[in-house]
């Protein structure tokens, strides 16, 4: 018996080592270079340089109004849908600037999926319809819809709860279930990157834990960038962390970034230390 247990521990350890080793060598999926963002004449972000390695989770933390959500919306070109939106610098996805004139924003949004703060399934569609809605809306062709529904709902940790009522209305699910449903919906178009804008802020603790498990599971396959106000959550789910701050009338910028263990365990900046210890924000 004890041998088996020991083996189990060994395996876990090896996996852990392999994963962190993978992170160190994993190539960059996305990065921003000297990115500045405006709403009309108001500059809300300045000089943001962050790179997101493949198959990792990066947490974006910082007080409200520091531009985290705006930043995340520049990564799949949703920011530009707001009137008066402008930006400088570049956002590279697989080495190419997604704001180049020859890039189709629809293509970018399919590769870079997004989950919002408030669960937003389509209320007039069934659970199954919601999962497949990305395919329908974008006109993407994929076979075996039944398999897609099962796979993505399983990946989002919702399959067991809804497999017997795929035809019922998405609006009947609880908030936590709806949020996992929209994660499944985002996964159905096979994105390489998933942006999550405070995905758990409207959820109860049990649902939050489920979503966090889902995030850890998904990061084996795709790159995840998550905005969160919950420090413990950032520690639990992320490999890397970037701390955003907008001081007194200045645009938001990144104060410090690096491995999550470093940012929370041994921050180099006093303001980071203060923030992660809850002294402001």
């Amino acid at each position: 018996m004890s041998t088996t247990e020991f083996e189990g521990v060994m395996e876990l350890d090896i996996e852990g080592i392999e994963q962190s080793a993978l992170h160190q060598v994993s190539p960059t999926e996305m990065e921003t270079r000297d990115l500045s963002v405006w709403f009309g004449r108001r500059k809300v972000l300045e000089g943001v340089n962050i790179s997101f390695p493949k198959q990792t989770v990066t947490a974006l933390i910082g007080p409200s109004g520091c531009g985290k959500s705006t930043f995340i919306r520049t990564l799949n070109r949703l920011h530009e849908l707001i009137p008066g939106a402008a930006l400088a610098g570049s956002v590279l996805y697989e080495g190419k600037d997604i704001y180049d004139a020859d890039v189709d924003p629809v293509h970018i949004r399919l590769k870079v999926g997004m989950v919002f703060q408030k669960p937003n399934p389509f209320p007039s569609m069934t659970i199954r319809g919601n999962v497949l809605s990305g395919l329908k809306l974008s006109g993407m062709k994929r076979d075996n819809h039944d398999d897609i529904v099962e796979q993505t709902l399983t990946a989002a940790g919702l399959w067991a709860e809804v497999k017997d009522r795929l035809g019922s209305a998405a609006g009947d699910l609880s908030g936590g279930q709806q949020q996992r449903l929209v994660i499944a919906r985002a996964l159905a178009v096979q994105p390489h990157v998933l942006l999550m804008d405070e995905p758990c802020s409207a959820l109860d603790p049990a649902s939050t834990l489920k979503i966090e498990e889902t995030i850890r599971e998904l990061s084996k396959e795709i790159t995840i960038i998550i905005v969160t106000h919950n420090m413990q959550q950032a520690v639990r789910v992320s490999d890397y962390t970037a701390f955003f701050l907008a001081e007194e009338g200045t645009p938001g910028h990144v104060v410090e970034q690096g491995a999550t263990t470093e940012i929370f365990g041994n921050p180099q900046q006093q303001r980071t230390l203060d923030y992660v210890n809850g002294r402001f924000g």
Partner: protein, 323 residues
């Protein structure tokens, strides 16, 4: 068992009746609501009673035949062609007004700069305020000659479709022109309602569809229009209600004939109940003809009611799920 579970139970009054001020307010509101019902019922009863003698003298043929001859005894009259004509004109109007209004509303909500859509909103509201007699005059003097040319072209190129046949060579006073005027009257109503409904599409859902790589067209088709469908249909029905009862604008442009024009929309001549009433009312030959006109009004009222009920059924069926 049942008795035990009822023990100690007190039926509680709602807040609306347990507070004195609310009690007064509740009754006032209920009274106002009842007044409008009473007015509606009063009109229906008045028209219904007036219609009885006409219906007794004419029988069922009053609504199944078409004609208006007062000089026989009893008069041989039938309003089927007029009832049908009211529907036909409204239908022609809808075919023109619905696509125009929905596209206009989509433009105002999702495409045009906010400033322009504000201007458009005001202009369209203004359009709804044009008195129908003015529209009728405009249609008589301005629209008529222009629409005549459109119809000649329709007949020349699409004349092989039965509805665009014209054997008389007369393109004035057609159901098409009357329907076009009705469309102009319906557009502001349908546009205003559709714009309102579309502008309430939850931003969450628009976000969701954009993040899923949706184009504007697919967002409209799968998100905004399904979300607003009930409201849009409601707007169309409001417009239809106006079209069915419209009198004076149609009176100016439609050549009233006491026959049933089934489907020749660019052939001169057609009918509508409201136009029949207004055109006969001035030269009514006696109390019996007046009763006949009121009876015609009663059936117009019934028909409008039926159309509204059908519309409500359509609206209530729109909540169904998309697979």
């Amino acid at each position: 068992m049942a008795d035990v579970s009822q023990m100690g139970r007190r039926d509680l009054q709602s807040a609306a009746t347990s507070h004195r001020g609310d009690r007064v307010f509740t009754r006032t509101v209920a009274g106002a609501a009842f007044t409008s019902l009473a007015v509606l019922a009063g009109i229906a009863l008045f028209l219904g009673f007036q219609a009885i003698p006409a219906f007794q003298s004419q029988g069922l043929s009053f609504i199944t035949t078409t004609g208006w001859d007062i000089n026989t005894n009893p008069p041989t009259v039938g309003i089927f062609g007029m009832l049908y004509g009211s529907v036909l004109l409204a239908f022609v109007g809808l075919v023109i007004a619905v696509p125009a209004s929905i596209l206009l509303a989509i433009f105002m909500v999702f495409i045009s700069p906010p400033r322009l859509s504000k201007i458009l909103t005001n202009l369209i509201d203004l359009m709804a305020a044009i008195p129908s007699v003015i529209l009728g005059l405009w249609a008589f003097y301005i629209l008529n000659p222009t629409a005549e040319e459109w119809q000649v072209l329709l007949n020349k190129y699409l004349g092989w479709i039965p509805i665009f046949e014209n054997t008389s060579g007369n393109f004035l006073g057609t159901p098409f022109i009357a329907g076009f005027v009705l469309a102009i009257m319906m557009i502001p109503i349908i546009t205003a309602v559709t714009r309102e409904v579309l502008s309430r599409t939850p931003p969450d859902l628009i976000n969701a569809s954009e993040a899923l790589g949706c184009s504007l067209w697919t967002m409209l088709r799968y998100v905004a229009l399904p979300y607003g469908r009930g409201g849009v249909v409601g707007g169309i029905m409001l417009g239809l209600g106006r079209a069915l009862g419209e009198t004076i604008a149609v009176f100016f442009v439609l050549k009233l004939v006491y026959e049933t024009n089934w489907d020749k929309i660019i052939e001169s001549g057609g009918g509508s109940v409201a136009t029949l009433i207004v055109s006969r009312f001035g030269e009514v030959s006696g109390p019996s003809e007046l009763q006949l006109l009121l009876a015609a009004g009663f059936f117009l009222f019934i028909m409008t009611l039926v159309v509204n009920v059908i519309a409500n059924l359509i609206v209530s069926r729109t909540g169904r799920l998309q697979k």
